[in-house]
């Protein structure tokens, strides 16, 4: 009886021995992340005009429980506007180390400017390198800082570790090559 139980355990493990491993070979094969995944933030642009959506209202900063967002607004030049609103974010910085990827900023943003994207490969070496500025966040920037740094050094394109098999309306315009 009890020996049977031992044998049963052996049987179960043996069955698994001959089943396929469930391992995702991550760096070689991309990870399929889900549409709502909370990854690195993206500052989106208006699809038609190409203007930034962010109007520098700081609601995201206010909603952030970790106080990881710094926004400094400035008035738009009416001739040559940066954003769709009256004002735009002159400085928009996120301290990625502080950020907990909760999505409160996304929820609080009235214009849908800040969206949590897909990049999760953010590991880097220096504390100071984690303050992502507008360039790093605007939607043309692909990958994380270390990834883009490496791409620049080696001359190869950024290799992203995930694939995006679905459409995310709020991320329109973001291209992952």
């Amino acid at each position: 009886m009890s020996v049977m139980a031992l044998a049963k355990a052996l049987g179960i493990t043996l069955r698994h021995f001959f089943s396929r491993p469930v391992t995702v070979p991550y760096p070689d094969a991309p990870v399929a992340i889900k549409p709502r995944f909370h990854g690195r933030h993206v500052l989106t642009r208006h699809p038609d005009s190409g203007l930034e959506k962010c109007i520098g209202c700081s609601l995201c900063a206010a909603a952030c429980p970790a106080y990881a967002i710094y926004v400094e607004p400035a008035e738009n030049d009416p001739e040559n506007p940066v954003s769709i609103g009256e004002r735009y974010a002159k400085v928009y910085e996120i301290n990625m180390l502080r950020c907990i990827f909760c999505g409160n900023c996304e929820e609080a943003c009235p214009t849908g400017a800040i969206v949590l994207g897909n990049e999760f490969e953010l590991a880097d070496y220096r504390y100071a390198d984690f303050v992502y500025t507008k360039e790093d966040l605007l939607l043309d920037a692909v990958g994380s800082r270390p990834q883009r740094r490496e791409a620049a050094r080696t001359g190869k394109p950024v290799k992203l570790g995930f694939e995006v098999p679905y459409v995310r309306p709020e991320l329109e315009g973001v291209k992952y090559e």
Binding site: L6, A9, L10, I12, T13, L14, H16, F17, S19, R20, P21, V22, T23, P25
Partner: protein, 325 residues
């Protein structure tokens, strides 16, 4: 004479290197094998299929800082890994991997040699535990004694019927006997069972791996060991597994003798039979729990030892009656 000695030395060197190589790859097999039981891949990124993984580990270990802890008993702290390492390697010297000449030391009482070595090997572990001057290792060391006290007798009692049947303590003879009369696992299945269970304890593999139970004793007796000293223990630990499996293959599965009248190839058959036991141990490792050391001692004395003794008497009667083949 000199030539003889030289030959021995060469053989010994080859065997040791082979064993170390086997160790290196047994870590790989272990990691990959366990991984397969656990539906994952295991090391596969260092070299093709992760085959260079053991080498990377070795390189790292060699260039790692070596620590001698302050409270340690310095002499023993250094001696312990050496003892563990040497005795772990030792047992294989008597195991024949092929017909005459394919053994480093064809001892006329090879079984006793193996038996003695397996007892002495405990010193290494035990002293390591004590010499570290720290609590977790001490407990690990004591548990190794507990294990010894449990398995050693059952081990001896389980070999006795084999010796009875074959009438020899020489491993080469035992293999030859099996070549003639069929594998001992068929004749001596109860003895094999007892031997197998006791061997698991001797190799300190899963149901009986409490001497280094990570969940309780951090890393057991080698908690305070770093760098190559730790590696020595690691080698010793896995070599027990390698040697124990080879020994079981020799004692009960006909050793290097080819099965089913297939052609004799010295190392090959032993290797294949050995692989069976390696897998078996790995399989059990992946499937079962760890016992408590008192339960193991009780099991060994209350079940294994009486069972082995009774079986010994049965075999003895059979042999004494003149039934020996």
């Amino acid at each position: 004479m000199i030539w003889q000695l030289f030959l021995t030395a060469v053989k010994a060197l080859v065997l040791i290197l082979a064993l170390l190589f086997a160790f290196a790859y047994i870590t790989w097999i272990m990691r990959r094998g366990l991984a397969r039981f656990q539906v994952r891949l295991g090391p596969n990124r260092v070299g093709p299929f992760g085959l260079l993984q053991p080498i990377a580990d070795a390189v790292k270990a060699i260039f790692k800082e070596d620590i001698t802890v302050e409270r340690a008993d310095r002499v023993l702290y250094w001696l312990a890994p050496l003892i563990a390492f040497t005795f772990a390697l030792a047992a294989f010297a008597a195991i024949p991997v092929g017909p005459d000449g394919w053994v480093v030391a064809n001892l006329d009482m090879g079984v006793l040699y193996v038996f003695a070595v397996s007892e002495l090997a405990v010193y290494g572990i035990f002293l390591a535990g004590w010499a570290s001057g720290s609590k977790y290792p001490l407990m690990g060391g004591l548990r190794s004694i507990a294990a010894l006290v449990g398995y050693e007798l059952a081990l001896g009692m389980a070999i006795l019927p084999v010796v009875l049947m074959t009438g020899s303590l020489n491993l080469q003879d035992i293999v030859a006997w099996q070549q003639k009369h069929g594998y001992l696992i068929l004749w001596q299945f109860p003895a094999f069972l007892v031997y197998f269970v006791a061997s698991l304890a001797e190799m300190s593999r899963t149901p009986f791996d409490f001497a280094e139970a990570e969940q309780e004793l951090v890393a057991g007796f080698h908690t305070e060991y770093a760098s190559m000293k730790f590696v020595s223990f690691y080698i010793a630990e896995l070599l027990h597994w390698i040697t124990g499996s080879a020994l079981m293959a020799t004692l009960f599965l006909g050793g290097w003798a080819a099965p089913f009248g297939l052609p004799e190839v010295p190392v090959l058959w032993l290797f294949l039979k050995w692989a069976i036991f390696i897998f078996l141990v790995l399989w059990i490792w992946a499937s079962w729990f760890r016992t408590r050391y008192d339960q193991m001692i009780r099991f060994a004395w209350g079940v294994l030892l009486p069972a082995a003794t009774v079986w010994f008497l049965i075999t003895a009667y059979y042999v004494a009656k003149g039934g020996a083949l």
